[in-house]
Subunit: 267 residues, 2 copies
Amino acid sequence: MSIGKTTKYSSDIHDLRMKIRMNEWSSQTTGMAPQNVQTNLAVLPEEYAFDFLLYCQRNPQACPVIEVLRPGVSQPSFVSNRADIRTDLPKYVIYEHGKKICEVEDIQSYWRDDLVTFLIGCAFTFQGPLLDAGIHIRHLEEGRSDPTYITSIATRRAGIFYGPLVVSMWPVKWKDVAKVVQITGRLPLAHGSPVHVGDPKHLGIVDLDHPEYGEAVSLQEDEVPVFWACGVTPQQAAAKAKPSLMITHSSSHMFITDLSYRHLDIM
Amino acid sequence: MSIGKTTKYSSDIHDLRMKIRMNEWSSQTTGMAPQNVQTNLAVLPEEYAFDFLLYCQRNPQACPVIEVLRPGVSQPSFVSNRADIRTDLPKYVIYEHGKKICEVEDIQSYWRDDLVTFLIGCAFTFQGPLLDAGIHIRHLEEGRSDPTYITSIATRRAGIFYGPLVVSMWPVKWKDVAKVVQITGRLPLAHGSPVHVGDPKHLGIVDLDHPEYGEAVSLQEDEVPVFWACGVTPQQAAAKAKPSLMITHSSSHMFITDLSYRHLDIM
């Protein structure tokens, strides 16, 4: 995130956001607006905000913080200056005391002056640069959300927040592994380079066909499973920490920002 | 900061830390332990901690957070597992309500259970890799601390914290500029790539011979002034925010960690 880079807001993004705001689009956002940064959402009461921000700081691959809004603020200023996170995601999950209560299409009726919003980087952000480089993305080809697994690797604890690292898996052709590592490594705020290339057992994953979130995808003979830290990690942490209230995006139903992925490129 | 990298703790670092702890060394740390990560220190009461962490998140070039300790904790766990920040810096500054009260060689008598410690990256960390690459570092050659200037560029506000960006300036030979940008750009947690190469007026700096902190250094004919965001920035923000108490390192008297700079390399 360099100083002075400007925001580009296309009419396509405007139209898409209006559809989402009006609940005319309440499906997944994977593959949509592939040039734009997408983010995970976590909303928590102020009393948990410092611990949660610290949890993100201690686990930057899983929880790369792109923007945090102060208590009661629902309109971002960095990733957009026209959005409201209460209406502009297609679907949300409401958790109370760590338990999933319901999924909703907007959160205006849950909004409170003490709620703090965290926008956390998402791997969908590097779909654009990977497609531009001629890399195939299996879950897009198969029309699925990417398979996501709970690993046996512990994240670093911060206050009440702790739990396992969650990863997503994208099959990559052996010949493309180096290129994929380089491209995603330039976007640390979209989870950056993979946490593992190769053997799921290294992460404690027993069966690739049964992901905890998302859907299984096919793995071909000339491909290797590649794993990235995933923004669902904080939802696992919240399930353990049991905050009185937590609101997140629904899996694969992300916030699409106004920013081009080039804003997050470290080069 | 990758998962699973281990800490190296040399006997040299141990000896140096013991000297600092025993107040046998209370001078600057520039040029010392050039392979090791050095950090700025900011200590604040818990009531300011969320806003301050958010200020750092919003200004990552000036305030790259390497470790944050929870309230009352004075022993880091990431950058060292043998240090105590109350005794292991050569000199500290105590601020009350934004005013500098005194400089001290340890802060044990100021310590409280509600104090939160922030360890923020420092440009001294890239002295090692620059020297290894054959780059001359003028302030080391001249036995000075590096010149540091208050710019006309505003940082992004977070709650009570706001203020100008502070930068340090190192003269670089024209032929070395690209190499220096590349080397420092790989260490974003040590401020990363320069914020400006060339004309100090672009940053609102009127006179390179009169830095606000540190000491002026000579600029030779085949050299250009290169500017990096500086960890003194949060001290300027605190001077405006006037927290009841803030403890920082004394200018150029940094915390020397156990970590090699290679731990922070993004490649």
